[in-house]
């Protein structure tokens, strides 16, 4: 049953992904931007322009280009596991994405952890005493945090903690420019440092991640508080809570049982948020020069680097899909009511 469910979801997701990538492929070619001019410059001779155009493959018909990209016309395409080559660096897009992705994942994972540590208890607290100060306070804080421009706060944090107080490192990336990065095994700087036997690198990576994670966690705590509060409040309004109190069960037990019931739907929502944030960490990565997939996307888009753009969209969407599938499986495992 579980197997059939997974296969069905992967199949549906695969189709969605396919449609999506074709849509992006066509869309960027139909928009007026001219990547050729971007590369050869505006004063190029017609011959240079034509040569460049041919190099980029843009002189061929769109169906042919699509076929090449997918790998159905032979050669180096999606079916062969290749995402093409970046028009800016010439490197394989797949390799560049593979380098950039873990950076974002590292940022998001730590941010989510921190946001949950802050947000879940606040959400629960707000739900447990309706009408109280905690209720109003968490509601307002959640609304506020969720409406903030993260790039603005990032800059302000840099100003306060780096420029004024000097306790945080500057926005120079994941490590000090003077440090030699360890061999990338997981891509997570914090873990790779330990794996390479250089705990100092890990410590430094943590320091450099502190402001980005703080900023991102602050923003994320908004929706997390809102969702946990809502689920918890719904659970507390359920009849089984009323009934448990009527049976004289201790309040702590009652609250825990409500949390138990609210847990699965909350996990699901948080997971969905994670999938959503893959493309949403762009601005923080940009401010702190972390080099994650969001920053890669910005660079590629502004440079009109079509293969890179396609690669980024494809990878982000694919990973989101897998995250959603994992969440659903987790939900089914946690909640005996969820039939697959």
């Amino acid at each position: 049953m579980m197997g059939r469910f997974i296969i069905r979801r992967l199949a549906v997701g695969g189709i969605q992904l396919f449609v999506l990538i074709i849509a992006v492929f066509l869309l960027i070619r139909l928009l007026p931007a001219d990547p050729v001019a971007r590369f050869v410059g505006l004063n190029a001779s017609p011959e240079a322009y034509a040569a460049a155009k041919s190099n980029l493959g843009l002189d061929q018909s769109i169906p042919k280009q699509l076929g090449d990209f997918l790998g159905v016309t032979g050669g180096d395409g999606l079916l062969q596991g290749s995402l093409g080559r970046s028009w800016v660096t010439g490197d394989a897009v797949a390799a560049e994405v593979a380098r950039a992705l873990p950076v974002t994942l590292e940022l998001l994972t730590y941010s989510f952890l921190l946001a949950c540590i802050i947000g879940v208890p606040l959400g629960v607290l707000g739900a447990v005493r309706p009408g109280g100060a905690a209720d109003k306070g968490t509601l307002v804080f959640g609304l506020f945090a969720g409406s903030q421009p993260e790039f603005s706060w990032a800059i302000m944090f840099i100003f306060v903690f780096f420029v004024v107080l000097g306790i945080a490192p500057g926005p120079l990336g994941r490590l000090s420019p003077l440090t030699d990065p360890p061999t990338a095994i997981t891509g997570f700087m914090t873990i790779d440092g330990l794996l390479a036997g250089r705990p100092g690198v890990t410590a430094e990576a943590v320091r450099y991640l502190s402001l980005p994670v703080l900023t991102q966690a602050f923003i994320l705590s908004g929706p997390i508080i809102k969702m946990v509060r809502q689920n918890m409040a719904e659970a507390l309004q359920a009849d089984f809570v009323l009934y448990a109190r009527a049976a004289g069960l201790p309040e702590r037990q009652v609250a825990l049982s409500a949390l138990h019931a609210a847990f699965a739907p909350s996990m699901t929502l948080i997971g969905v948020l994670y999938g959503f944030m893959l493309g949403g960490a762009v601005l923080i990565e940009s401010v702190f020069s972390l080099g994650g997939i969001g920053q890669y996307a910005i660079r590629s888009i502004l440079a009109f680097d079509y293969p890179a753009i396609q690669g980024v969209v494809l990878i982000i969407s694919a990973i989101s899909l897998i995250v959603y599938l994992l969440i659903d499986i987790l939900h089914a495992a946690l909640d005996p009511r969820a039939a697959l």
Binding site: L27, G131, D135, K136, L139, P149, I155, S317
Partner: protein
């Protein structure tokens, strides 16, 4: 009795008031901002990189303003290009809010119409619409907006179009769900049993009741649209300089932060902060009142 998620009633009303005040203020600035601004937001003044005057001086400076001979103070300071931060900050709503409101209005109209149709009629075309809407919703929002705007040309119009495309699915989905649940409500059926025509059922019974949640969502969406516009401009894929726009201002200010010049970034940042919070609060209060 249907029980919605509780909020302390006092908090709910408080949020409504705060939201309304903030939205009102920003709308006022959107209309009159550039008019009341003391300096031309796109022209350099005679100083450069000047911090704002200390707060204690403000009352004195304000009173001194009544003498037309005295030049206006730079309330929020001057940035590295010599532009008055205050004037730019209060002129920016005209750009940011206009874009956000227009985009949301378009998505609302398109989304509600299509959503209502999809809610009423089960047809292969509405099924297709929902599939397309799903796929559209699975696009990573910021990146897709960047692609659309950067490749179509950086302009306010393109930002509006991109956001309309990306935000319509939310309204489609929301309206469809509302309409589907309302169709089966007793009073709708009772109307049908009384002989009310289907057309009247849609327009007089269902839609008025379905628009509530959509309107609340609209307020929230305007807030997100402002964030998106500012974010796009910040990375260089949005509005073009020298249009006063909060995101652009923060981007300019970012390079000056390490020099200790905090004012070019703080004020536009705070403005976005407050504005989006205002829309979010208003949306929340509306949802409590008019949501199901």
């Amino acid at each position: 009795m249907s029980v919605a998620v509780h909020d302390a009633p006092a908090a709910g009303d408080g949020l409504l008031k705060i939201g309304a005040i903030i939205v009102g203020l920003m709308t006022f600035l959107a209309i009159f901002g550039p008019v009341i601004a003391p300096y031309d937001p796109t022209a350099a003044t005679d100083t450069v990189s000047t911090p704002p005057p200390p707060l204690i001086d403000w009352p004195r400076l304000f009173i001194a303003q009544f003498d037309p001979e005295i030049p206006a103070p730079h309330w929020f300071g001057v940035d590295a290009a010599g532009l008055d931060v205050f004037s730019r900050t209060i002129s920016a709503p005209r750009t940011d809010l206009l874009i956000a409101l227009t985009a949301t209005a378009f998505s609302f109209v398109i989304g509600v119409t299509l959503g209502a149709l999809a809610g009423f009629f089960r047809h292969w075309s509405t099924e297709l619409l929902m599939r397309a809407s799903d796929i559209l919703q699975s696009f990573p929002v910021f990146i897709s907006a960047m692609i659309l705007v950067a490749l179509a040309g950086r302009s306010g119009v393109n930002i509006v179009l991109a956001m309309t495309l990306l935000y319509s699915p939310i309204f489609i989905r929301l309206t469809r769900a509302e309409v589907m649940s309302l169709r089966n409500r007793g009073f709708v059926e009772a109307a049908r049993a009384t002989g009310v025509s289907e057309r009247n059922i849609v327009f007089r019974y269902v839609l008025p009741n379905a628009l509530g949640p959509a309107a609340a969502q609209a307020s929230v969406t305007i807030g997100f649209a402002i964030l998106l516009t500012a974010g796009l401009s910040f990375v260089g894929a949005g509005v073009r300089p020298p249009t006063p726009e909060w995101g652009l201002m923060i981007a300019n200010g970012a390079s000056q932060i390490v020099l200790g010049d905090w004012w070019p970034s703080l004020f536009p940042g705070a403005a976005i902060s407050i504005t989006v919070f205002g829309f979010a609060s208003l949306g929340h209060a509306l949802e409590r009142r008019y949501g199901r």
